[in-house]
Each structure stands twice: as C-alpha cells, then as structure tokens.
C-alpha cells in the first residue's frame, strides 16, 4: 500500500459561465519517503488537485478517492481532516507571506502549530520551534522576529520549518520556489531534498522536476497525460505534450520549438484528446475519442499514438 493513493479525483467549480472542471480524473500514488513531481502549465489543475484532497477548497465539488495511509480523505469530517493536515501532512505554498500571520512572531506560529496537535508544554513547543528554525538555517535567536523582518527566502524557510514541525509523513509543496531568486531557490531545493519524508512538489519548472522528483506526473487541462520515473521522462518522453514542453526549453543556440496555440478553456474543454487542437501529430481519431492512460505501468501516457510503446 502506498502512503497516498489518489484515484479518479474530479473537482468542479460552479461559475457564472457554467461548470468549470478544473480536475478531470486524476490518479496517482506517493510512496513513503519518495518525491512525486507534478508539472504542467498554469491552469492545468495542479494546485486544485492537492488542495481539494486536503479539503482546502470549500466551494468546490470534489469526487473520487484519496487514501492516506488507508484512510479516505474525500468526505472526511472537517475536524478530523484538519488534524491530519497539520500533524501528518505539511503544506508549503508559493507565497509564504500570505500563509504567515503578520502579527505573531515566527517562533510563536510554529509553537502554536505544535500545541494544537500535541500534548506538550509551551516551553517544549518553543524548543521544538527553535530547533526546526535552526534546521532550516535560521538562527534560533530570530524566533521572536515577525515575518516582515525576514526576506522572501527566509520566510519560505520558516514555512518549511513549520511544515516540518510535527514530523509529518508527507509534505506538499506548491510552487515553493517560484517567487524566489535563483541563488535562494537553490538553497530551498537543497533543504527540501534533505527532508526525508514523502514530498509532492508542484511546479511549472522542469528544472525543479529534474532536480527533485523520483516520480513525475505531467498534467494538461486538468488531467495527467504522462507518468514516469524522472530519468525516463526526460530521456524518453512519450506524450506529444511532454515532448512539446521539453522542446520549448532553450538548449544552447538551437532555435526554440514552441507548442503552437494555447491551453484550452476548462469551461468547454476540447472533445476527444484535450491536446488535439495543439498537437502536431494528431490523427483523425483524436478529436473524437478520448485516450485513456495506456502503456506500461511504470510509464503510461494518454495518447492514441504508440510513440515509444
């Protein structure tokens, strides 16, 4: 059994323009201690997928199954889910400033997170908070400082310290380095790589995937289109969208090969394969029939063509 097993996850928002299916059937597993990288362009449903299974999107209709250590998260009572969220699953978001309380010192925020979930004294909670801050490279003497007194990179490290506070089995990091500078980004990735627990890292940056992920899931228009082990994905990309993404990246002085067109609106996704309007190798079947995930278990993709299969 995997630590987290998600299957058939669907998330629908009601909007004035009709139903918007942000996530349209996502399945994946995360093994204990392993890192799953989720990559895709903006709007492909990466954030909504993980937020939905943690019960963080109140307005949305969430269907499917998400077993965390055997327990069903979808439909779990809010209070019970909240306990799992803080203690066993940690979260790190793109923008640390909006997830930290501006009026409390960072040490207090970490200590209170501990006190909510564990029966320990205030002093014990503070000493764990200081220890965690040291672990992410922030001197314990700064525990009484407020978020605005830290730089962006330090705030992200505070978020990591907080996510780590209760030794969770899983940490979900949604674009943890997108707002950071290159040299600071390298510090944060190094830190995340040393965590030891299972990690889901959501990003649009294929460089982060290449550095961090054990397994990778590529998403397009609310669905996974390819899953593979990290090296297999870069060495042997199979889905035309994955190939398009990799070809779009600059490689020295070679002319770039963009994917033509742009991602579809999820209010009215294309029929058949949702990539077909942009796909350079589509066949007559593509706009009519939707391809399921096909191919070997360790490297499936959702495409009618038997590229590499």
């Amino acid at each position: 059994m995997s630590l987290l097993e998600v299957s058939g996850l669907r998330v629908t928002f009601s909007t004035p323009d009709g139903d918007l299916q942000a996530v349209r059937g996502v399945s994946f597993e995360v093994e204990a201690g392993q890192t799953l990288g989720v990559v895709g362009e903006s709007g492909s449903g990466k954030s909504v997928s993980v937020q939905a299974l943690l019960g963080l999107i109140p307005g949305a209709r969430v269907e499917g199954s998400a077993l965390f250590d055997g327990e069903q998260l979808i439909g779990m009572p809010a209070e019970k889910l909240r306990r799992i969220r803080g203690a066993r699953i940690g979260m790190i978001f793109q923008d640390p400033l909006s997830s930290l309380h501006p009026m409390y010192s960072v040490g207090r925020q970490i200590a209170e997170a501990i006190l909510v979930h564990r029966k320990v004294s205030k002093d014990q909670a503070w000493s764990v908070a200081r220890e965690r801050l040291e672990q992410v490279g922030i001197p314990a003497v700064r525990a009484r400082d407020y978020p605005h007194q830290f730089s962006g990179g330090m705030r992200q490290r505070v978020m990591i310290a907080m996510a780590m506070a209760l030794d969770p089995e899983l940490i979900i990091a949604d674009e943890p380095t997108t707002a950071l500078d290159a040299t600071v980004r390298a510090q944060i990735l190094e830190l995340l790589g040393r965590l030891g627990c299972a990690l889901i890292i959501i990003t649009h940056d294929l460089g982060v995937i290449a550095d961090m992920a054990d397994q990778v899931m590529v998403m397009y228009a609310g669905k996974p289109v390819e899953k593979a082990e990290r090296r297999a994905l870069f060495r042997d990309p199979r889905h035309p969208y994955t190939r398009g993404l990799l070809n779009s990246l600059p490689k020295g002085k070679e002319r770039l090969q963009p994917i033509e067109g742009r991602p579809p609106s999820l209010l009215s996704p294309p029929t058949g394969c949702s990539f077909h309007p942009r796909c350079p190798v589509r066949i007559p079947r593509c706009p009519i029939e939707e391809p399921p995930m096909l191919g070997p278990d360790d490297h499936p993709d959702a495409c009618w063509l038997e590229v590499g299969r």
Binding site: G153, D181, D211, F234, P250, K251
Partner: protein, 320 residues
C-alpha cells in the same frame, strides 16, 4: 560609435519618512555606477536577481527615468528610436481601451500620419507580430498572456525604433508560450535589423537570445562578456554561483551546485568594498575594504580574486 553608451550611470531613489514633513532618511542605490555600450544590431542580455537594478537600468536607457548622475548617449532620437517592452502582459495594458488604439499610441503621441493611415499601420503591425488584424477592436481581457505580450511588442515597434529594451518580456509566460514569443522577437530582429537589450532572470533564455551578456549584482555590473564565453568561462564568483543555481531540465546534471549563504543584501546600505563579499566563497580581507573595478576588454569582470578560466567555484568554502 556605439548605438547606446551608458557611462557611470547612477539612479538613487530617496526614502522618505515622516507624516507631515517628508524627510529623506536614506537612498535606494538601484543603479550604482553602470557603464556599458550597446552596438547596432546586437542583443545585449542583462541578468541578475530581483532588485539588482535591471528594470531601473532599462528605464534609464529608455529615458523613462532621469538619471541621478552619469551620462547616456544614444545615436539618434531617444524618444522615437528607443522603445520598451514590459514584463507584465496583464498590468501594462489599459483594460478599458481597445487593442488597436493601444498599439496606435506612439503614432498618436508623435503625430504620425492620419487616423486612417494609422489604422493601416496598426493592422500591419498586428499581422507582423502574429495577431489577427481583425481583432483590432477587442479589449485586452479577451487576449491570453502571450497575445498581450505580442500587443506590447507591436506597440513598441510602431515608430520603427532602432533599439528595443525588453524588460522580462517572457517571464510571466508559460514555457510553451514563452518559446513562441522568443522566436517572434528573434524573427523581428532579423527582419527589421533591431538592436535589443534583453533583460531576464532565466539564464537559458538569455543565453539563447544574446550576443553579449551582462551580470548585475546590487546595482552594479560585475561581469560582461560574449554569451558563450560568460557561460563557459565565468570569472566572477557571483556569475559562477548564479550559473550553478540555474534551473536546468537535465536529470543527470551533477548535483554539486554552489549554495550561497544568505540573501541579496539591501540596496539601501550596500556592503563595503566588493558588494558580494558577505556571500562570496572566495572573499578575503581586501574584498571588504576595496571595491573591485570592472576591467578587461571583451570579457570584463570586477573581482580581486577571479576564477581562473575553467576553475570551479568551491561550495565547500561556503558557510564557514
């Protein structure tokens, strides 16, 4: 003579405090003594981390900022022949105005042509940048990020400029769209003989588009060289650290990258001597007191103890 000459340019922003009597309490040294030249027909890339002064330098070059000191000379009419493309394809277009009239702005400001000749020109520009000229009357909200960036490019080209300063033109775009816009800029350069200053924090995009690359740190240029030379043989420790921190989609890249300690310091009171010394793995006593000057020809760097060509910056010296 170069197309553009920037000589010891400084741009400081006053920091004011006090509610009734605004008193200057300090200055942001956004650009602090930059000299460089841009040759006709080339692309000069500028890289550096957030807040190092790239946009401020760009705005000085295009005349949008008055410089605090120093000189900028341009071989032509700065107001017509130098144009700018901005980063934010969402914020830089007025949502209540039609695309056609946004693109026509520079023509109207410079009293160029008649309303009907302007309309023709705008349609030509829209076709040139890959927009459908029939969308002349649409509003920005109806366009995607990539298309809005094309609108910004069309507007910048309206007056047939010689130099286009592109400030992070593709940073806000998804990779597949980013590649479309980068190819467009390349094609336009070949077709119209444009000169570019191309600012970005993505090192691989800059490598692809640029002939020469300048690296900025805290308001200063620390290294400038022909692109391949800079990427293959960086001499300044900061350049080497930046290159090693860059995001590369290669799962087999060695993972022994240089991790610098700390963050970029505040430009309000930059460190003494070499501004990079608090984070530099090679820093020595001299670095804390004596500011290194940008020296060399062709390949210039500002460092007392530069890396030898091919030498790797050692990360193990970091954090000690």
């Amino acid at each position: 003579m170069s197309l553009l000459d920037v000589s010891d340019v400084r741009k400081y922003f006053p920091i004011k405090s006090g509610i009734f009597f605004q008193r200057e309490v300090g200055r942001v040294h956004a650009v602090d003594g930059v000299s460089l030249s841009v040759e006709a027909g080339e692309t000069l890339g500028v890289v550096g981390e957030s807040g190092c002064g790239k946009s401020t330098l760009a705005r000085c070059m295009t005349g949008l900022h008055e410089v605090t000191s120093g000189n900028i000379t341009f071989d032509g009419d700065v107001r017509r022949d130098v144009q700018m493309v901005f980063q934010d394809p969402y914020g830089s277009l007025n949502p209540r105005r039609r695309i056609g009239s946004i693109i026509a702005d520079p023509l109207v400001i410079h009293r160029e042509g008649t309303p009907s000749s302007r309309r023709d020109r705008v349609r030509d520009l829209m076709a040139l940048v890959g927009l459908n000229p029939e969308h002349y009357n649409r509003f920005p909200a109806e366009f995607s990020g990539g298309q809005r960036q094309r609108v910004g490019i069309a507007r910048a080209l309206a007056l047939n400029p010689r130099l286009v300063v592109c400030d992070e033109p593709v940073s806000a775009l998804d990779v597949s769209i980013q590649a479309q816009v980068v190819n467009l800029l390349k094609d336009l350069q070949a077709e119209l003989g444009l000169t570019y200053v191309f600012i970005a924090h993505d090192l691989s995009v800059v490598r692809y588009v640029s002939d020469r690359v300048a690296v900025m740190y805290l308001g200063k240029i620390v290294e400038i060289a022909p692109g391949e030379e800079l990427y293959e043989r960086p001499r300044h420790p900061y350049t080497a650290a930046l290159l090693s921190a860059a995001s590369v989609a290669d799962p087999d890249r060695p993972r022994d990258r240089v991790i610098l300690r700390g963050d970029v310091p505040s430009p309000i009171s930059p460190p003494s001597g070499c501004r990079f010394h608090p984070r530099c793995p090679k820093a020595q006593e001299r670095c804390t007191v004596e500011e290194p000057r940008l020296m060399g020809d062709g390949h210039k760097w500002a460092c007392h103890f530069p890396l030898e060509p091919g030498e790797r910056l050692q990360s193990r010296e970091v954090g000690e």
